[in-house]
């Protein structure tokens, strides 16, 4: 519910928010997150404490706003950001540079640990200008994959100075986002509505598979893969539409769901509870998509904001795996959709979910933490 959300105005437009991953088998809630800013004269990467855990009441209620632990100047807009491990965070810059920052927890400082200058560039890497924005980064320690406006794909290793592999002109349009499909395969989305699979083991500089939206080639801005069922992929487009793809079959999305009224900037399956999906948009809304009610008669837990119920439309039949996202049984197809931010006007650029916690950042220069997503 909204009253569990704590907000903080931070005097910088936030482009990315990311929870620090929890150590394996940890039982506690995430407590630290990182943010990146954009469109400032002086952009920053910051580490925040979600709040003083000591103040949490016995029944788990939580108060207190996020609290800045440390920050560091960042050259250019922060375009994307991903934790490599508990201490290191990889940041993609609009200058084309990719930087690994290390968070020193003993003295609460941030330092640049490694930097690939102009990993993305136009025309010539060595000229003084010519950097191209790095639009997306994804990590699978020690591997780091980046994509950019130059249509280039880079594969780095955190411990190696030079790129392990670079695919120049991988895409003739802008690559907007990247994620891992499997350890050796990645998914990219681009500005002409295509979803591509790349097998990094193959030396061919061609995607192994291309999927695309029918009709108008609406640009795709974000992509996420179902954490357990790897064939299910969600993407968000410029028109705010959520597309669900089954990469085992067809070349078109399994379902197209009307969602936001403007660009969908991020889409995330809940990492441990993938019946839940979260999307945020330029239109200032953040939606929670819940398919868990479709299987059981579980009561809905969120009552704030506008609610609507959508029905999945399907272009395929005979699903072999029963997933709420691909299910074609009309009686099960109900999906609870809740806007978690009523009355917001400026863009929600980023969100991240981990455990019961949601963090998001906006162009209205505020970060919000919801510690009781499922309470």
């Amino acid at each position: 519910a909204m009253e569990d959300v704590s907000a903080k105005f931070v005097s910088q437009k936030i482009s990315r928010t990311r929870w620090r991953p929890l150590p394996a088998a940890a039982l506690q809630s995430p407590d630290l997150f990182a943010t990146g800013s954009w469109d400032n004269e002086d952009n920053r990467v910051s580490i925040w404490s979600a709040g003083d855990l000591g103040n949490a009441g016995l029944n788990g209620e939580y108060h207190g706003e996020p609290h800045l632990l440390c920050d560091i100047q960042h050259n250019g807009d922060v375009m994307d950001m991903q934790f490599l491990d508990q201490e290191r965070i990889v940041v993609a810059s609009s200058t084309g540079t990719v930087t690994i920052f290390r968070h020193h927890q003993n003295n609460q400082t941030l330092s640049a640990n490694h930097r690939w200058e102009k990993a993305h560039y136009h025309v010539d890497q060595d000229t003084s200008c010519g950097g191209a924005a790095c639009t997306g980064v994804v990590c699978n320690n020690p591997e780091i994959v980046t994509v950019g406006e130059d249509g280039r794909i880079n594969l780095f290793r955190a411990d190696q100075k030079d790129a392990v592999r670079t695919i120049d002109n991988a895409d003739s349009s802008t690559l907007h986002a990247v994620t891992f499909l499997r350890t050796t395969e990645i998914l990219t989305v681009n500005s002409i509505g295509q979803l591509k699979i790349w097998d990094l083991r193959q030396q061919r500089n061609e995607p192994s598979q291309i999927f695309s939206l029918a009709g108008d080639r609406v640009p795709l801005h974000c992509v996420d893969r179902h954490p357990n069922q790897q064939h299910i992929v969600a993407t968000g487009g410029q028109d705010g539409m959520l597309s669900i793809w089954d990469i085992r079959q067809g070349t078109m999305p399994v379902s197209l769901l009307n969602a936001h009224e403007a660009e969908m900037w991020e889409v995330h399956f809940h990492p441990s509870d993938p019946d839940h999906l979260f999307t945020c948009s330029e239109d200032g809304s953040l939606w929670h998509w819940d398919t868990s009610t479709s299987v059981s008669e579980k009561p809905s837990f969120l009552h704030q904001g506008g609610r609507s119920t959508a029905y999945l439309s399907h272009s395929t039949i005979n699903q072999s795996v029963v997933s709420a996202w691909l299910s074609n049984d009309p009686t099960k197809d109900r999906m609870e959709i809740t806007n978690l931010i009523p009355n917001q006007t400026l863009s929600v650029n980023s969100l991240d979910v981990l455990g019961p916690c949601l963090v998001y950042g906006t162009d209205a220069e505020a970060i919000y933490v919801n510690r009781q997503l499922f309470a």
Binding site: F9, S11, Q12, K13, W38, D39, N40, E41, D77, M79, S94, H122, V123, G130, A132, A133, T135, E149, D150, G151, N169, D171, S172, S173, T174, S191, I192, G193, Q194, I210, S212, A214, G215, D216, R217, P219, Q238, A262, E263, E282, N343, Q344, T345, L346, S347, D363, A364, E365, A366
Partner: protein, 669 residues
Amino acid sequence: APLMDTVPPQVVPGADPSARQLCFAWGPAEVLVCETLFGRAGGSRSRAGTAARALTGSVAGTGEGAPSSSRVFVVRRDQDIYIQTLRKLFNESHGIFMGLQRSEEELAGKSRKAQLVQVSKNYRSVIRACMEDMHQAAVSTRDPALQGQYSTQVSILSAMELIWNLCEILFVEAAAAGPLLLRLLDWVRLHVCDVDSMVREVLSSESPSKHKLFWNVVDVFVLQGRMDEARHLLSKEASANPTSMNMYKILDDLMKKMPVPSLGNTQTLTELELKWQHWHEECQRYLQDGTFASNPHMESICKILLGDEDAILEKKELMTTWYHFLVTRLLYSHPTVKPLELRFYAQSSMDLFLGGESSPEPLDMILMAAFEFEMHQVIKECSIVLSNWWFVAHLTDLLDHCKLLQSHNLYFGSNMREFLLLEYASGLFSHHSLWQLGVDYFDHCPEYGRVYLELHIERIPLSTEQKALKVLRICEQRQMHEQVRSICKIMAMKALRNNRLGSALSWSIRAKDAAFATLISDRFLKDYCERGCFSDLDLIDNLGPSMLLSDRLTFLGKYREFHRLYGEKRFPEAARLLLTLMTAHIAPCSFWMTLLTDALPLLEQKEVIFSAEQTYELMRCLEDLTAGNPDKQKFQDDDVETTKVEMLRLALARNLARVIVKEGTVEGS
């Protein structure tokens, strides 16, 4: 009265008009001031101008250099926009502003007023929150210069809140006689904080009644009408002085019985006045019969209760401001003061309080204007004194929503609300980061908002595609076709410069810019002619319906399709498509030669592919090209071209021969 007619002249620090003639140019949010090479003939060299204060302008950057070289000054009109801590104020109040614009005008009477008062309170709480942040920053910084800056900001914010609160009481809530006094008391209690530390010190001491400032604190409570607190303190003193117990009891009783206006409708004003008269007489009696004569402190309190101006003025130090004096005076002599009577008491209170020793400051003038219900004067004075447009823009908008400003039209622009919102939003747009907030303000300026937005939005630097998309979304939502085209064109040009033909094409497709799509298609075709292969196949193969945007794009798509068919060895289909490209005039004439050359390998296939009819058509195409071409000369001069034409003619003739034989055989058998 128009707003700008009496704005004092502004001085650009560092620029000396007495030494050099200055020139200037207006920008959307800034003014460029430039020193010219022209000296001032016979002009005095004294720097007379620098004595005046620059009130709302600030010099953002000055050119360095020797006195002989000219300098350019960028003068910004809203300097507070650049204060980091105030960004919280701008962002949070933007949300409140938007809520107010959305709010239901239909809500009737009381509930509408309650809604507007709530909005006003929300604005004030944002100011207070910002003030606290600024105060924290001042306390935690070690840099004395920064500390001074923060402290100045705290006092500015505090003055803003003080003015806003008074306007809320008088204009937004429009409190009536009775409740009006209660509101003013709250206002004084909230804002006169100079005595708070003294009160805390006394109250927290071991025995407050022994403290040397004890009576001061009692007086503070009485002056602010905080009767219960005053009585509580007095009771401590009373228990320490059993001999004067009776005197304390009487004073305590008087204070307890003092009639106060109620917020509800439980008593009428007449009832209150009667009760109050009665109580006043009782106080008078005790004072006259010398009940408190033995204790000057208590006697003075009794005099204050009677509204004795001299007695109250004696406590000047404890009130610190004339408006506190005003409210205390009202409390004890005119508790049922009507809004329109305020002006008389305010003026005389100020005169009495300042007593000719000091002249009123701008803040005093603003408050006085408010007490006089001169709303426009308040806004005008604030515009001049404050170094930001935030305050006046938001306050005026709120007052406008209270339907208080309708009659006021300016001789320039539209109305005052819109004028101030435009100024504020223009300031936001001049900021590298806050421009997004400005958009919504322009949206709510019906007359000129759109034009301002159009002018400003084109000046946003498009550093990344993501930013361009955000700007584009703003324009698309408002059907600003001109700007949409211009943004897409800028991005397409950038992409083209970076050799990103694919991206360039997507941008022109987004803007439905046929001319530019044609230009890019030509680049693709040129690349193909030079390299013999297509770049960016992933894009060209996926043009979809956008192929129809321009003829050249259609041709590009179709031509690529021909190559695909050819690659897949679907020769008859490829041949048919190739021919159609020319006969249906999809291909530009300049490309016909290339197409005909592409036909060569098809003509040379073992199998006959072009029918007789098709071959004739090809021949006609070739002849049209060579005969109808105005550059006929060129063909004759160019050996390569001539050879090509000869080869083609030969191949066509051979094909024709083969096809006649074949068709004759097939049809004849």
